[in-house]
């Protein structure tokens, strides 16, 4: 993202938009003057291509912005009722790395029905499973294990077996017989407007006591 020059580009866009909006009352005032008869007596090109194009553009942009806002607001009418279950099928291995951090590899069975989250304004659903636990040093640890993109409603009801896509590494060696929660998060990415996110927390999982 162009940051420094971006500020200037953005200001420029603002200025040109602002200008377009402020030009319309000026045109009306001039039309009024024209009818009353002005002192200069010059013939002004009131119905030129430039003015018409400007008015049309301003109107089009306003309506477009309004439609995007309404589309985004319509997402609030949706009341979702998602459900999910995650089962740990197997602990593949559980080791201490050379640097001293614990690492564990799991195979999970993830079943979910997220169809009710889709609205007509939804582009895709980004879901991921994260493990949450605490350690003596850290009040909260969240490690993302797996994620997926659901592009349409038909794919939102699924059940998959998978090993963790991302490595489950602790900061330290605190994972032996650790209790942790598995959370399924989803991010609704709209076609336009506000993004929503929420999660389901499933608790009661536990890692084995010894390394294997």
């Amino acid at each position: 993202m162009a940051r420094d020059s971006g500020i200037w580009q953005n200001s420029f866009i603002f200025i040109s938009v602002d200008f377009n909006f402020s030009l319309r009352p000026k045109i009306k005032r001039q039309q009024l003057q024209q009818r009353q008869g002005t002192k200069t007596g010059k013939k002004k090109k009131m119905h030129s291509f430039g003015y018409r194009a400007n008015a049309l553009l301003t109107f089009a942009v306003t309506i477009l912005a309004l439609m995007c806002a309404i589309a985004s607001l319509s997402d609030n009418l949706n009341t979702p009722s998602p459900s999910a279950q995650i089962e740990i099928l197997n602990i593949n291995w559980f080791q201490k790395q050379p640097h001293g951090n614990d690492e564990v590899s799991l195979t999970l069975n993830i079943t979910a029905d997220l169809q009710s989250l889709f609205t007509w304004n939804t582009k895709q659903l980004f879901i991921f499973v994260a493990a949450e636990y605490e350690t003596p040093k850290n009040a909260l640890n969240q490690v993302s294990l797996w994620d997926a993109i659901i592009p349409a409603k038909e794919f939102a009801k699924f059940s998959i077996h998978t090993s963790n896509k991302y490595r489950f590494i602790d900061q330290g060696h605190n994972l032996r017989s650790k209790e942790f929660n598995l959370t399924l998060h989803w991010h609704v990415m709209p076609k336009t407007g506000k993004m929503f996110a929420n999660k389901i927390v499933m608790s009661g999982y536990r890692l084995p006591e010894d390394y294997r």
């Binding site: 993202m1 162009a2 940051r3 420094d4 020059s5 971006g6 500020i7 580009q9 953005n10 200001s11 420029f12 866009i13 603002f14 200025i15 040109s16 938009v17 602002d18 200008f19 402020s22 030009l23 000026k26 045109i27 001039q30 002192k39 200069t40 010059k42 002004k44 430039g50 400007n54 995007c68 985004s72 582009k123 895709q124 980004f126 991921f128 994260a130 003596p136 040093k137 850290n138 009040a139 909260l140 640890n141 969240q142 490690v143 993302s144 994620d147 993109i149 592009p151 991302y166 900061q171 998060h185 991010h187 990415m189 709209p190 076609k191 336009t192 407007g193 506000k194 993004m195 996110a197």
Partner: protein, 180 residues
């Protein structure tokens, strides 16, 4: 002769008054645009409340040319949030998703790891030399809203500055000819 002098006087004074009026109107437009921009910065709490997506690392969710609306609150960063952050030594901010969070008990400090949705590996390669985690202070804002395609204007103006000059010229022309 008197009335010629009078009419010339009136035309001149009107010309000065007109051009002053135009100048002030232009100044008001520029200042109101700046006010809106700074106001947005205050409301959202982010240095840059609107950013344009430049890379394809977040596809298919965010394509090049989309606009993101950012917000920054004091709430701690959690996994899954889409954040915009700066790396030392790089001037372009990056928009990626948080995949790991470790919050320290004592200091409340948060260590963050990010990854682009379309990338295969996490962002450790992108961080500065010797930096393995991001901290809350590196984050400029969280993405809360999104508008497709609108950012192309900014991208085009950055990559082909000649279009910027043409647009400025056209707008300037419109200002001058509008009162004429």
């Amino acid at each position: 002769m008197g009335w010629i002098g009078e009419s010339i006087e009136s035309v001149k004074s009107m010309k000065i008054r007109d051009s002053l009026f135009q100048f002030i109107t232009l100044g008001m437009i520029v200042s109101s645009a700046l006010i809106i921009w700074k106001g947005l910065m205050c409301i959202t709490g982010s240095e840059s409340p609107v950013v344009v997506v430049l890379s394809e690392s977040m596809e298919p969710g965010f394509q090049r040319g989309d606009i993101l609306f950012l917000q920054m609150s004091k709430d701690p960063i959690r996994t899954g949030e889409i954040v915009v952050f700066n790396i030392q030594g790089r001037d372009i901010p990056i928009v990626h998703r948080v995949i790991e969070v470790h919050e320290q008990r004592q200091s409340g400090e948060v260590r963050i790891l990010t990854k682009g949705d379309n990338n295969d590996v996490d962002d450790r390669m992108l961080y500065a030399q010797g930096q393995f985690w991001l901290k809350q202070e590196h984050i400029m804002g969280r993405a809360v809203g999104f508008l497709p395609y609108v950012g192309w204007a900014t991208i085009i103006m950055t990559e082909k500055p000649i279009i910027k000059y043409i647009l400025i010229g056209a707008l300037g022309l419109l200002v001058i000819t509008s009162k004429d």
